[in-house]
Amino acid sequence: MSSARTTALTPAARRGTKTALGLVLTAIMLFPVYWMVNVSFTKTSDMRRTPPSLIPLDGTLDGYRAVLRDQLPYLGTSLLVGVATVALTLVLAAPAGFALAKLRPRGGGALSFALLVAQMIPGIIMAIGFYAAFIKLGVLNTLPGLVLADSTIAVPFGVLIYTAFMSGIPDELMAAARVDGASTWRTFVSVVLPVSRNATVTVSLFAFLWAWSDFIFASTLASGSQLQPITMGIYRYIGNNNQEWGSIMATAVVASVPAAVLLVLAQRYVAAGVTAGAVKD
């Protein structure tokens, strides 16, 4: 049979080889991250050593001490901004995705195209454009303003994801709800949204990660705020003449940990197929 043709290994051994290969590939992919950790433990005098040391045997914890001393408020702010951005993105993207996928407004194609064009605008142009508007709205140098700005990174993409997922929801589901007398809104909230849970998780993941690593909006629109995200916190170590690379890398390492945890948890949901929860023919 076909399985016997491909390989002589037992299924378990084949899976074992695959795991090994997976580990190797992951190690190669994550090597720069390892290097980042390496640098975070390196003393200034060793930073430009030739040849470079692969393991920081003669290391220092100074970078991490600086991070624990300075960066915790920034991490907290990043978390807050990330969560708020996710909330705002979902509130804007889900109804729009539903409209484009199921309600088919006339001119919806133009809207989709506009959303695509929206993603073509470089961040710095958006940031400069927002500056004046934010002053008028009174949200310059405030966290709500930053959340608004960060959401612009994720909303068009979010609408795209929602539209895609929701188009796949069978019309029978909606027809059934309608027969029971539900309004469109009710159908949306009670039937469509729960079924689109995976889309919601995917959009949330992207929105959070993009907000977490955003620098351009934080720098242009929120650098005068009392609470700043971690991407600005790194600048504490970038003085006007000197940069403390050990501390910068240590900050990056510490900043990656909560996001990495989130990723591993969320992956399970993004992994569950689109078919879950939908009516199969």
Binding site: M47, M120, I121, P170
Partner: protein, 340 residues
Amino acid sequence: MTTLEQGGSAASRSSGAGAQPPARAPQDGARSSGGSRPGAGGRRRSPSSVSQLTAWAFAAPVVVYLLAFYAVPLYRNLDLSLRDYTVRSFVQGGAEFNDFANYTTVVADPTFWPALWHTLVFTFVSIGVQFALGMALAVFFFQHFRLSTTLRALFLVPWLLPLIVSASTWAWMLNSDSGVVNYALSLVGVDPVHWLTSPQWALTSVIIANIWIGIPFNLVIVYSGLQSIPADVYEAASLDGAGPWQKFWRITFPLLRPVTAITLLLGLVYTLKVFDIIWIMTRGGPGDSSQTFATWAYDESFGNVLPRFGSGSAISTLLILMALVAGLVYIRAQHKQEAS
């Protein structure tokens, strides 16, 4: 062979969420006023009792959002590019229209053609390789061996790092003298390569770093696409005696075409904008050897103590136009696909 083809098209015809490759969305909207849609059987028109008003009511917040947050910056950028802006007129106001003088200056600049070429090379090589690797990895991880979920999650870690950190880490690794890459090369007897400081290698180095950063995105999207292909199609193929390669090329790849199209398009749009990585690693240099439109635009507006906003915004507008053209090509290709 015939069975495989039938299996493939049957998958695209069956109703239900599973068979629908996710990325048909933009074209669906484009056909909102149309009637039947060939090739996508199983999805009928929405009940006509849902009024246009309700539909637009749901879409309204996003429309307002688009106008407020995208149209305004776009307009300001266009305005900046059509006027003669000096620092004084930027601050005080009253800049005169100079028609397209900024654009002609930009096109006549000796940096224009190199930057255009670099932009095209950077973008197409990046998205091509990112996508190929992303797809290969997605297919690989889809085989659900031990630890595959965790490893796949770990592959997304590069995404979490602030760009200043990823770019700086790559810059350090590629340093001519103290970088670990040259150290590794020296262990196998290769002379040190001047990754970031020679005109020959600068563009390649930033492309490599950009590919690394782009793999997670491609991996996630393609993986989601893979999940929407129902398992019975593969089972049918196995019964017919198809090997893994054939399964990939005859089933997976064709069914992923919509996902491929949207991933490549989004990849193109995002990669055109990329500037942090290049800026931090090489500043577009040495000379102009890794200068792209995105970095050049930034350089003109912010890379100098004396900003030249007019040129900077003209270059950005040209960049957006390039992305726009790509978007239109995509839509056209989708329409043709639908019509066939």
